[in-house]
């Protein structure tokens, strides 16, 4: 575990709120949360289903509007008011979604996903051999063979392969921040550990900030530097993973930890 108190902040929020519905049905899915994510930090946001994790991540990505509050990106107020500014913002922040089967356009070959990344990097005019080389390199980073995958449709791949390809996409784009919204919850247990290892590798090699969203506090303890615990749209507790999990203060955190009986035992990698 590293100490991030003096690291450069790359994404900070103050009073960030998202309200859904009107009148009687009005509810705050995310309720005045403050956070401070640093460069190269592996942050986990932990909470039960429905606690507002996905809503927060969509706000951070700029996919939905923020009802109230302020988000700073790399020390400056985030400005995504125009399409051009959004496009620029998305060069710095990218995502991996929960359901790999829903993340791909099923009418297009998987090549198009990687080719889009090259285009976004500004490598759209390279000769195809060069592009092929880059895509092969990205795929080998996640233990996939591009030559075997090219010209295939998404539904011809397994869930684990699809999610690894999503990481290959991140490898090509090299954003400052990666938001991974429960990337392992829909895939088989074998692929899970690999995916987590790859996320750690991305952080170590490129100094990427990883915001890892999960409902599994054990998993968060295993991978993260900092943990934010979310309950009903609020952060009830946050701090270094060791501190929060070995010495929890909030009752909600204690309950989450009690639901994972193995937390104080020796970590067995096959369970993650």
């Amino acid at each position: 575990m590293r100490d991030f108190n003096n690291a450069k902040p790359c994404l900070t929020g103050k009073g960030v709120t998202k309200t859904f519905g009107f009148g009687d049905k009005k509810m705050n899915a995310v309720d005045h949360v403050d956070f401070n994510f640093h460069e190269g930090e592996f942050v986990s946001i932990v909470g039960e289903s429905g606690s507002g994790k996905t809503t927060l991540s969509k706000m951070l990505l700029g996919l939905i509007s923020v009802t109230e509050g302020q988000i700073d990106f790399q020390g400056k107020p985030r400005d995504i008011s125009t399409n051009a500014k959004k496009k620029e913002y998305w060069k710095g922040i990218q995502a991996i979604f929960q359901d790999p089967f829903a993340s791909y356009n099923m009418f297009y070959k998987i090549d198009s996903v990687l080719l889009d990344c090259l285009k976004m990097r500004g490598d759209g005019s390279l000769p195809y051999e060069k592009k092929f080389e880059l895509m092969t390199e990205a795929c080998s980073f996640v233990n996939l063979k591009f030559a075997e995958l090219t010209n295939k449709y998404p539904f011809e791949l397994s869930g684990g392969q699809m999610q690894r390809l999503m990481i290959a996409r991140i490898f090509l784009l090299k954003p400052k921040i990666l938001l991974a919204d429960e990337p392992t919850s829909m895939i088989d247990a074998c692929s899970r550990a690999t995916i987590l290892d790859m996320l750690l590798k991305l952080r170590d090699e490129i100094n990427m900030t990883i915001i890892f969203i999960t409902h599994d506090i054990g998993l968060a303890y295993y991978v993260s530097d900092t943990v934010y615990i979310m309950e009903h749209g609020k952060f009830v507790e946050y701090g270094p993973a060791d501190k929060v999990i070995l010495n929890p203060q909030a009752p909600y955190t204690k309950r989450l930890i009690n639901d994972v009986p193995k937390i104080y035992e020796e970590w067995d990698l096959t369970t993650v």
Binding site: N83, A95, F97, A102, S103, N105, F107, Y108, V113, C117
Partner: protein, 417 residues
């Protein structure tokens, strides 16, 4: 795409509908190649000739017949030749003066009635109390019966130009027959003729083609408007969505058929051709396509593949065309099929009200119905003028709906039982 089409042809409902629809399509394109007559040509003079083959009378007489059949034609002649009044008169006489009990007389059996008559009736006997006028009436009836029984046939006479006298040109007896194939002029009207003496079958085929065209024009317009508005409302959301939803609801509250009647009424009769009617139907039929496309798009726009496309910096247009449209394409095809079907029905309904295409150069299914109704085909028992039209309308909408159900079962498998 190829897969979907292949899948569609595994659905028995879709295939049945498709086959029926193809049958209609092939008919409307092949039939005119065989029967080249103008579908609106008035072949018959007079209205509602019943279905059958028509033979030129002069040709029957003029044909050299070598066919002498040993068939007694008198029975058939009696059966059709003795009118109901004559039969009643015969029964009356037999009962009153022939002393035959009423129960023995059967006016429906011409042969036994005539036999009974021949047995009892003698023109020479004078019955007391009978006036001469009545007696003569019975004698004329007797002559008529005896004539019908005679097999001697007819004489064809020609007028001599010089003397003005009639001369026998030919004579035929009752046993001479003509082979139908030897006749130069026969006309078969499988479905008879309509009120204007036009061949119903030929007209029906032409009308089906025009009505299908009206349906397709209406379907294309309704689907394009519905698709564009639905995509805008669903994807852009916000104010655009509110505005479009408001307009759509407005159109839903006012039944589109009422609107269609009002608009059709206000378009001048001369401008109301078949294309115009198709356009009018199309611009009043889009609301439900808009509503269903909108709800489909709303459920799609928050999908992760759309989010990923946004994160990849794709423009809104590109996202709509590559990430939304392909996902709703099958749905739009289904909506289009239903729009064609309801467009054909709308044309028929409009035409029944006299607000359909005002044209004398083409027929539509609705116009055929309208003509048949105006000339009271339904009360005069001339079923061939309207029943086949109803059948074709039913067949087309049945086949289109069947195709739609088949597709629906493929795209929404949870509905399958």
């Amino acid at each position: 795409m190829k897969n979907t089409i292949k899948q569609a042809f595994h659905s028995s409902k879709f295939v049945t509908g498709f086959v029926i629809f193809m049958f209609v399509l092939v008919t409307i394109f092949v039939y005119p190649l065989i029967v080249t007559r103008d579908p609106l040509e008035m072949v018959g003079q007079g209205n509602f000739f019943k279905p059958g083959t028509y033979v030129a009378v002069s040709d029957v007489v003029g044909t050299n017949s070598n066919y002498r059949l040993n068939v007694d034609t008198s029975a058939a002649k009696l059966e059709t030749g003795l009118s109901v009044e004559n039969r009643a008169m015969m029964a009356d006489w037999l009962e009153k003066y022939g002393e035959v009990p009423a129960s023995d007389i059967d006016v429906t059996d011409a042969e036994s009635l005539v036999a009974l008559w021949n047995e009892k009736y003698d023109p020479k006997t004078v019955i007391k109390g009978m006036t001469i006028a009545v007696r003569n009436q019975y004698m004329r009836l007797n002559n008529q019966i005896q004539h019908a029984l005679k097999d001697s046939g007819v004489i064809i006479a020609e007028k001599n130009e010089e003397t003005g006298e009639l001369e026998e040109a030919k004579s035929y007896d009752g046993r001479e027959f003509v082979n139908q194939g030897d006749l130069p002029n026969t006309q078969t009207f499988l479905l008879g003729t309509d009120n204007f003496g036009r061949d119903v079958l030929t007209e029906l085929v032409a009308a089906t083609k025009v009505s299908l065209g009206v349906g397709i024009i209406a379907g294309v317009i309704a689907t394009i408007i519905g698709l564009i508005l639905g995509l805008l409302a669903g994807y852009v959301g916000g104010f655009v969505d509110n505005l479009i939803t408001f307009i759509t609801n407005l159109f839903t509250v006012i039944p589109s058929f009422v609107l269609l009647i009002l608009i059709s009424y206000s378009v001048s009769e001369s401008a109301r051709g078949t294309t115009m009617v198709g356009i009018l139907i199309g611009i009043t039929a889009w609301p439900w396509t808009t509503r269903s496309v909108r709800s489909q798009v709303i459920s799609l726009r928050n999908r992760d593949h759309v989010n990923l496309s946004k994160l990849s910096g794709h423009s809104m247009m590109r996202i709509v065309f590559t990430d939304i449209l392909p996902y709703i394409a099958s749905y739009v095809v289904m909506a289009f099929i239903l729009q064609i079907s309801s467009g054909i029905l709308a044309e028929a309904q409009l035409s029944m009200l006299g607000l359909g295409p005002s044209t004398t150069t083409t027929a539509t299914l609705g116009l055929m119905m309208n003509w048949a109704t105006q000339y009271s085909a339904h009360t005069s028992g001339t079923w061939w003028a309207y029943f086949p039209v109803i059948l074709v309308i039913a067949l087309i909408s049945f086949s289109l709906n069947l195709m739609n159900t088949g597709l629906d079962q493929i795209f929404n498998p949870q509905l399958r039982d």
